[in-house]
């Protein structure tokens, strides 16, 4: 009964209610879309980092984390690699031989991380092979093929098929020099990554190092990121002497930034709701003042004050929820549309890349936000109803009826 009364009251002054509803709808629409873009950005940062080199879980020798020395390889690494691939839920795993060294051309020298891989395995874990802008992914018969990033190629002034001199420290501490032939040049979202990572085939490294096969890193790609905690625990208990890390531990700044995007969205929504709170209070206050005589009569004929209070509260909540529903509807449609087409931020491409996100973003909102938001709106509405409802409850029927 009270509810239908309240609903009718909302529409007594259509223009006024519509303005407030429009304000709420537009405010929510704007903040939802902005929030969805931030969330999409965070997601893109995470995904590009996982696809580029992090993968989901990595295994190292514990000593390697403190000191990236070539001797800190994973003991019996290939057995560990084989065992991890057979863990259910693991899509693929790649063993990497990592060496810090120098890349030199006739004109300059840069420090690089030399990543020794088995191309067939690495292809299943990361997507560098799809990022080649020149050349092929280890398909030629060169003696020492190497794939380098565009940034490094520019800095060293090297082209496809150029020779590059790689130097690094061997297992016994001696310096090893080797000429490699550039068979591919890749470009990812991260210039820093492109400048500092070069890929070679493991067999070539083992020959140069004159060693049995060794690996320093096992990168594990899972069938779904949802399986991460469970498989992480499984692998961790299986190899207590090795360091097992998820991408969140390896790159905490990415995890933090992407999580910060969600907090940021909530913060922004709260600010907008706070601004709306003033508008709603004002609208309801005027609505109460306008009806002061009518409310006085209602109280005089015996309507319980608590019921008057509830009516005003319900009116406010209905007004707000109507606006919110509008905001949700247009917001949801816009987000759904853009999450399908993507939003092109190429104008900011180089920043997006320096943050490690792709220039096309796919906005989305997590399900939890669609549940939390109506709650936040009901709270806002209740808060803004407080003053008008208090005012309505404290009407002196005698004065109200006589004066107004």
């Amino acid at each position: 009964m009270l509810a239908s009364l309240a609903w009718k009251n909302v529409w007594r002054n259509k223009k006024r209610s519509l303005i407030m509803i429009l304000a709420i709808a537009l405010g929510l629409w704007g903040s939802l879309l902005a929030g969805a873009i931030w969330m999409g950005w965070g997601e893109s940062m995470v995904n590009t980092a996982i696809d580029r080199d992090l993968s989901h879980i990595q295994i190292h020798n514990q000593k390697y984390l403190q000191n990236k020395e070539i001797t800190n390889f994973i003991p019996d690494g290939f057995r560990v690699l084989k065992e991890t691939i057979s863990v259910p839920g693991v899509k693929a795993a790649s063993g990497r031989t990592l060496i810090e060294g120098m890349a030199a051309s006739p004109i300059s020298t840069f420090g690089v991380k030399i990543v020794g891989i088995l191309p067939v395995e690495e292809k299943k874990v990361t997507n560098i092979h799809t990022r080649l802008i020149e050349g092929k992914y280890f398909e030629s018969n060169d003696r020492n093929p190497i794939i380098i990033g565009k940034k490094l190629a520019d800095r060293l002034n090297l082209k496809l098929r150029s020779k590059i001199i790689i130097s690094f420290q061997g297992l016994d501490g001696s310096l090893i020099y080797a000429a490699f032939r550039i068979v591919g040049i890749y470009k990812t979202e991260s210039a820093l990554f492109d400048q500092s990572n070069v890929f070679v085939q493991q067999a070539n490294l083992f020959r140069l190092l004159n060693t049995e096969p060794i690996i320093h890193e096992i990168a594990i790609r899972l069938q779904s990121s949802r399986l991460m905690p469970q498989i992480y625990n499984e692998v961790k208990t299986k190899y207590p002497n090795l360091s097992v890390q998820t991408w969140k531990e390896i790159a905490p700044e990415i995890a933090v930034t992407s999580a910060a995007m969600e907090s940021f969205t909530y913060l922004f929504l709260s600010i907008i709701l706070l601004a709306l709170l003033f508008g709603i209070t004002n609208t309801m206050l005027m609505s109460v003042m306008e009806r002061i005589r009518e409310l006085g009569v209602l109280i005089a004929v015996g309507m319980k004050r608590i019921k008057v209070f509830t009516t005003i509260l319900l009116e406010t909540i209905m007004l707000s929820l109507t606006g919110a529903a509008g905001g949700f509807a247009i917001g949801g449609i816009t987000i759904a549309y853009f999450s399908y087409t993507g939003i092109d931020f190429s104008a900011f491409a180089s920043t997006m890349e320096s943050f490690g996100a792709s220039p096309t973003l796919y906005p989305f909102l997590p399900m939890s936000m669609y549940i939390a938001l109506p709650l936040m709106i009901v709270i806002t509405a209740s808060l803004s109803a407080a003053l008008p409802a208090w005012k309505a409850v404290h009407i002196e029927p005698a004065t109200a009826v006589r004066i107004y």
Binding site: K15, R16, I19, M20, L22, A23, L26, G27, G30, S31, A34, W38, N67, K68, E100, G101, M102, A104, P106, I107, S108, T109, F110, G111, V112, D154, R155, L156, N157, S167, F168, Q169, G173, L175, P252, E253, V256, T257, A260, F268, I271, I272, L274, A275, L276, F278, G279, T281, N282, T283, L285, M286, M289, E290, F348, S350, T351, M352, S354, F355
Partner: protein
């Protein structure tokens, strides 16, 4: 006359006017604080980033920036350096010779960035001495090195040990030297901490066979506003003989990072102001329609419509300015307090800042334009809103209004 009348009209319904003014107050307060922290952080970020290493401007050999080759090193003699310092607004000019090289200690070899510096000039600009955690700072004569803490840990060297440098010098000459570690420096940015080795400039010039040469001259300007003036003077002085780089060219990520942050801040403000505009509009609309009878009476007894429009428009402007003024006044102590006591960012978020090369601090700007801009925006909103009463009065039919 108009002013007094409209001012009194505002106070006829105190509570409503106050609530409307409060929503403006809140918007202005929030907008001012937000813009202040954004702009303040940008200025601080730029200044601390350029002071950290690059300087506002750098003079380099042509093509040096892209390939970092010692072959592009240049000669800028003492007299020219003095001439640069004589340019107004130039605070310091710091010569450096930079090269990549392998650094080893016992069995460990790492790739490092070797930087030959003038110890006194360098300290004046970057305060390198403050970053010393062990040992002594470089002096002009002896041949020791300062080494980044991370690198020192990896090489397992301490003050008093020797490291061996091995790399490529000017025109491909082999550069090798054995040098004692005299001090260990700590940088907040791990890329620097793990890679940097400093030695005195003459020493570096000898080792890399780049006698009398430098790779760059970093120039600090007093404030960013004078950067362009100095740029022009330098351009005239060297007449295209060398490349002149600005920090914007050397740190494009910082520039775009600022742009994108600024853009998302503006989007937030726009949404916020839309919500506020609706709030003001709703209030003004109700205030106007409530007084239809009063307006009608005034018009019937001979009041010109244009005068009424004046009065009601002034009311709106007053309302907006009341809120804007209060918002500004309240924001002043907040901003000035935090301007002198910047908020340090802690925890995981600090790491994200570190990757950008900026010390994690929230700084507040007291630039007057921040306050003025918000006042202008509020005035525009108020004027746009004032159109409603103007139209309403223009269309008002006194006979109908009095009867209803």
């Amino acid at each position: 006359m108009y002013i007094a009348l409209s001012w009194r009209n505002l106070w006829r319904n105190k509570r409503r006017s106050l609530i409307a003014a409060a929503s403006v107050f809140f918007a202005v307060l929030l907008a001012v604080v937000m813009r202040s922290v954004q702009n303040g952080s940008y200025a601080y970020m730029i200044h601390s980033s350029v002071k950290f290493y690059t300087g506002y401007l750098q003079i380099q050999g042509k093509g040096y920036w892209d390939n970092r080759s010692l072959d592009q090193s240049i000669v800028i003699n003492k007299k020219q350096q003095q001439e640069i310092l004589n340019i107004p607004h130039v605070i310091s000019a710091v010569p450096r010779l930079e090269a990549f090289s392998l650094v080893s200690h016992e069995k460990v070899t790492k790739v490092s960035q070797i930087i030959g510096i003038d110890p006194i000039l360098e300290n004046n600009m970057t305060e390198l001495k403050k970053k010393l955690v062990k040992g002594k700072y470089l002096t002009d004569s002896p041949d020791g090195v300062l080494i980044g803490q991370g690198l020192a840990d990896m090489l397992k060297v301490s003050v008093g040990d020797s490291v061996v440098l091995f790399g490529q010098g000017y025109h491909g000459v082999i550069a090798a030297a054995r040098l004692p570690v005299v001090g260990i420096v700590k940088f907040p940015i791990s890329e620097m901490n793990n890679a940097m080795v400093f030695l005195s400039l003459p020493n570096a010039q000898n080792i890399f066979s780049a006698y009398g040469k430098i790779t760059s001259l970093a120039i600090m300007v007093d404030t960013i506003k004078n950067q362009n003036k100095v740029y022009k003077s330098l351009k005239a002085m060297f007449n295209n003989q060398y490349t002149l780089m600005t920090w914007q060219e050397m740190m494009p990520d910082l520039v775009q990072g600022i742009e994108i942050d600024n853009a998302s801040g503006l989007v937030m403000l726009i949404i916020l102001y839309i919500v506020i505009a609706f709030g003001i509009f709703g209030t003004i609309m109700m205030m106007t329609s409530e007084r239809a009878k009063e307006f009608a009476v005034l018009i019937s007894i001979g009041m010109k419509k244009i005068r009424l429009i004046w009065v009601s428009s002034l009311e709106t402007v007053f309302l907006a300015f009341l809120g804007a003024f209060a918002g500004t006044v309240v924001s002043l102590p907040i901003i000035f307090y935090f301007h002198y006591n910047p908020i340090p960012i802690t925890g995981n978020a600090a790491r994200a800042f570190d990757t950008l090369g900026v010390e994690p601090i929230f700084n507040f700007s007291t630039e007057p334009s921040i306050f003025i801009n918000q006042a202008i925006v509020v005035l525009i909103i108020a004027l746009a809103t004032a159109l409603y009463p103007a139209l309403f009065i223009g269309k008002l039919d006194p006979v109908k209004a009095i009867k209803s």
